[in-house]
Symmetry: D2
Subunit: 421 residues, 4 copies
């Protein structure tokens, strides 16, 4: 690689002239971006793309914000031009007028992002760039608008058809395993030994989606426990010194942790595909598997209880949790709890609730230790998804429904209006 990059350096240096090279290093990042948008040359395009990404990478936050504003303001769509092209196309539809309309209605920054993506390793750099944009642009309308262009392109690039599912095991390269440790967002992995307990025993599995242009970067991963029966607590699943079950003996696959890895891919949803694919693959491998469930946190429970002014006792918590999951909505009739929104949106049902199921500090703080099993019945997820998407119907087991009903007396003092926020 060294010889190669030396060679390339030499090639480009001489090809484009030392003077011009010198120019570039003195010119602002924004000018390089403008040059990249306007060049016709593929070679100079590659070189400019490399420069822009390298310069952005070494820039501080202030310079990055300036760069984003440049994109937002100087590479925005031109309404007058777009309107003229639209009129021309409407008047005389043809390949030429349609081409002009497509060009005029797309902001040039989309083409800039595509051109930046032409060099090796650029996809990961652009995902990191969007993570910066989300962090630095929050509350700034034009930067929030700019984000839509990144998101639009990323949806196309990170299409399900391009993703690759790979098992994560104790045979996985260490550089990927250390990212699993770093990215685990639900139940912290506190050491390599902890990681080993989650990927090495034959009744523990882990799977991740990867994109071919970012082969060392997991996009999302799920951790699975193979069990007999549905577990009602998470700490035993992660315990040291646990005896492993022979995988073919398992009747239940428990998705006990799902973590998105890339802040720069926020809003590009992979979780549904991941769960369906993993469930399908496990079902094919292990014919005795009869159930696919989660063991999930209820991150918003305690906050809601507090906001609603509901006094609680430990004994009542599962009932209140059932009510919270089934009846407490935010706008658009969606459940207030984000994890519930995710699994119900995938076509799962609320299957069971467990007190004392997550005794970690975080678990107690979020939900008083209560956890929930969402159950995926693969034969009915499509139908349930449709009902949820169309009417907001929340499917639940009879047990959970009656548990929720039992919470009514406790809600008397709840503040009005809260449930729909």
């Amino acid at each position: 690689m060294t010889v190669l990059s030396d060679l390339l350096a030499a090639v480009f240096e001489r090809g484009l002239g030392a003077a011009r090279q010198g120019d570039w290093s003195r010119r602002p990042l924004e000018e390089l971006a403008d040059a990249l948008i306007s060049t016709q040359g593929q070679t100079s395009g590659h070189l400019l793309a490399e420069q822009v990404l390298a310069r952005f990478n070494s820039a501080d936050d202030a310079a990055r914000i300036a760069f984003f504003h440049h994109l937002a303001e100087h590479m925005n769509v031109d309404p007058a031009a777009a309107r003229a092209a639209l009129n021309a196309y409407e008047g005389t539809p043809s390949r030429a007028t349609y081409r002009a309309f497509l060009a005029a209605s797309e902001p040039p920054r989309q083409e800039l992002i595509r051109r930046l993506n032409q060099i090796e390793g650029a996809t990961g750099a652009l995902v990191a760039m969007r993570a910066d944009l989300l962090r630095l642009g929050q509350g700034v309308p034009e930067l929030e608008a700019l984000d839509l262009d990144f998101r639009h392109l990323f949806k196309s690039w990170f299409n399900r058809g391009f993703l690759v599912l790979r098992p994560i095991t104790w045979q996985t390269p260490a550089d990927i395993l250390e990212k699993i440790i770093a990215y685990e967002a639900v139940h912290t992995i506190d050491s390599w030994e902890d990681l080993r307990r989650r990927v090495q025993p034959e009744d523990r599995r882990c799977f991740a989606f990867f994109h071919p242009a970012m082969p060392d970067e997991p996009l999302i991963f799920v951790e699975v426990a193979l069990t007999r029966g549905i577990p009602g607590a998470v700490q035993p699943l992660l315990a040291e010194g646990r005896a492993a079950l022979a995988a073919p003996e398992a009747d239940t696959a428990v998705f006990y942790s799902i973590s998105n890895c890339q802040a720069g891919l926020a809003g590009i949803s992979f979780g549904n595909s991941l769960i369906k694919q993993v469930a399908t693959d496990l079902a094919a491998e292990l014919p005795r598997l009869a159930r696919f469930v989660t063991l999930s946190p209820i991150p918003g429970l305690m906050e809601w209880l507090k906001g609603a002014g509901i006094a609680l006792t430990d004994a009542d918590l599962p009932a209140l949790a059932a009510h919270y999951l089934l009846n407490v909505k935010r706008r658009a009739a969606a459940p207030r709890d984000p994890v519930a929104r995710f699994h119900l949106g995938n076509g799962a049902i609320v299957h069971a609730l467990h007190a004392g199921a997550d005794l970690s500090q975080k678990g107690r703080a979020q939900s008083g230790g209560v956890m929930v099993n969402y159950l995926y019945d693969l034969r009915r997820t499509a139908e349930r998804h449709e009902a949820f998407a169309t009417d907001g119907t929340i499917a639940a087991s009879p047990a959970v429904k009656s548990l929720a009903a039992s919470a009514q007396p406790m809600l008397k003092g709840a503040l009005d209006g809260e449930p729909t926020v």
Copy 2:
């Protein structure tokens, strides 16, 4: 795989109901496409995408044309809506108005194509679909416009950053080699033995670009001969019983054939990147390589001579060819010869001309057997590309220039106007 697809079939069948399944198979392809555009569900989306692609695949040309017209007419941009969204955004720029504008100014068929691409193997199917569109839609304005949407998305999906360069050797899987045989467009490969002569000897190389979502389908490939000196004829390069040169002895790499493989990727250019990458890699591997040249056909020479009414003798052919390459233009000051446009556009120069260089029937018919070496000086390709792109400057060696000058007397009788067509 069989178990898996059985399982999936079972899952979907029961999940969505046999009745509904039955419905689908009776409903027209266009309705399925409409349903795919409007569904919110990922699972039903996948199923619909599978159905649409399968149905399109088994449809006849008439049905395909009808489908394309449906996309062209019912999934087109709505000018009124686009105008309203544009006005709203211009009046009150915000994330919300910008999002609405992006949505309204993009024709729904782009989202349809993206959704079709969510299932495994879809990318190749969509490339094949566009090949049909190009074939069936020629001369039909709305279908030619529709093609721009495919092209727009393909440019994004087949971004250089996503492509993978792989050497093609005698160790390459047979299913890929047979595609090389089928796709060779310049000098036909007439048997497996002929193929072997192009990929097995150590002084013969072949490289192709692949896309991760179409791992068995080369997109474009180049065949290279490593030689001492610049060759002036192609048949000796491909001869049986030839003694191979030790690769490190070579001082010249000859790109003697470049073939695009996918009709459905017309207009998405890979050749420039391929040549630059291969040249760079070979330079790193073989330090004695001093020159990168092509041995190229001149496909339009005889046709131009005939059209221009120029009488010719064999002796004069190279001079006329030099004139043709350097001075005969079509609109926009670009060379009339398509191969010349490609290499000059990449920053190469016209280096030398050879009579009797391609004695095949095709070679004689196209150019009276004359071939040309374009030379890539990697240190100067960027600069030359810029000059060509900006001013139409055609770089040539002094020998070729004086050869072209020597053709002037023969052009006296040439028909007016021809040279600029």
Copy 3:
């Protein structure tokens, strides 16, 4: 690789001195072998091993015979030394006397062969060397004895535990596929298209054993047809334009061709392991497979009939074939037919006979077109193998037994003594 071998050349040249190098190239191959046996140095050992193999490779048959005689006569075991060491060990058993005995009772040529094997690619070269020895040494007692040393070492090196089973498909590299074409010994593969018909359809499979030190050289391969029912003729299996069966529909796996690839591995048996492994793997992949049979030639049938002076009519052939397989023995009570010996020795039974089953010229010449199914019942192969190995019991289906009995009248005129040869 070039840089590397250049470097190594430089290293060795200077390290060992040009003078000495020069010496070597002038000295006879036999002296180099003697030097290799006596050197203590690993580096000089490698260099010498390389020289010996290269020199042998470029030697003519006369020189190869001379080299083999050198090994046979000058690197043979020394009876006096072996006897002395044996006496010493018997008198005073200890690690030291045992070590001396092991050393003295092993001929030095075994150590020579091991030392030759220390360089990359040597294993294949040694297998080729033994092929020469078998060819050139036939009938020469000391060379036939020498062969036992090669065989002894090869049995150890080509141990089942070191072999790797790999499927051969249309995705297999072309350089391996062309060896399959070349090595097919039962039903000739006459083109790449013929090969494709045997490896590409989903109801056709091929598997080969490989050794890690010869990764591009199949050792043995078997071709399998997945069918419904047991086929009674081979040409339909190999026919062009045949409609393929969906693999999961098959109830029978037919081993219709097994070929050893390496003449130099004669006497090292892989076939039994290969059939058992392939049958086990296919059974795991395709649960509906209920039968594993061969469709085998009867290579010695016509020759035996002729030798025994039996007049025949086509109608009688299957009966005579049944008799031949079940009752005609050579020494040691083993069946006269070599293919029968192989499959019965593996624990198969003679299941059925078919007239007109191989209409090729070879098939008619060998067996008048008759073929036989041997059936592998995996649950009983071990038991049947034991009975065959212990008592020479030949298992056959009732139908085959009564067919054989029906041949008795035709045997009246058979020459005495023949049946037991």
Copy 4:
């Protein structure tokens, strides 16, 4: 794999009969071994081999010792039979008498070990078995003799031609990396972070030999630091927070740790091949590398000084170390220091000595913190190896020689005779 082994279990169970299976589990390990030696059947052979290895694996030390004694005593060579076969061969040399002699002079336990090796995973199990034998058989003459048979076969199986060199990096699977941590024998790796510092920076490399039949088990590995100049201390090489050198800038490759991984491969030497191969590969990759040196411990220095009764001061230590390495011998004129024997035997020279070079507790205890650079001049290693092997010549730099000479005054009081032990 589970389905497969279930299937095999079923196959074998039924094939061989439950009664007989039951027999086996009740019969002693020794009887199973006897059966394995005498069976003619490949299938029953595999099954028996599996049983023997499984039973040995779960046996306690007493049972293992008994098993080893069985091999040593009942599967030993039979002197009378060997003598008779030797006489017969000497009297009438032929393939038949030679075959009989080879059979009679090889102890049956060698065939047993080969047969055990026919099943998957057996090679690793046999290496572990020999580790037990070395541990349990020490001082027992017949078990020490038995070990020679294992060693004989292992030399053949672990032939250099079968080994594969693989780089160990931060991309290596975690299950292999944890073995590197466990097997490091020179400078303990105390955590995954410590490991990362040795394999991830671009100026740190690690390489291991693997055998194809034990793909997850390194046999030996070497750790390399790329530096500018020859380092004189080891702790800085392993320090946290160290700035890495760009690999192409390095002029020196330092082999600072070599560890054998498999106790059961004692006496099968890989180190020389490993160092030569790694040096050759690094030289090809990094053309500026000018020197290959070690930074080695001197494990026997302090012990010798103590034994020899030499009073010492820190200032004198390097001189005494130089004398120790150059002049203190054990039997057969070989250096007393084992690390010196290894590197000098490979053709290296004693290049330089450093006080305070290893400040770890172990380093101080072994050698008072002194370390030594052995230098490999690839152009001269062969020649130096020969001189060392033939005459015991120890090559050293002039500086080391004069340092050793300066130690003479301090040796006055040394105990007689010690230097040659």
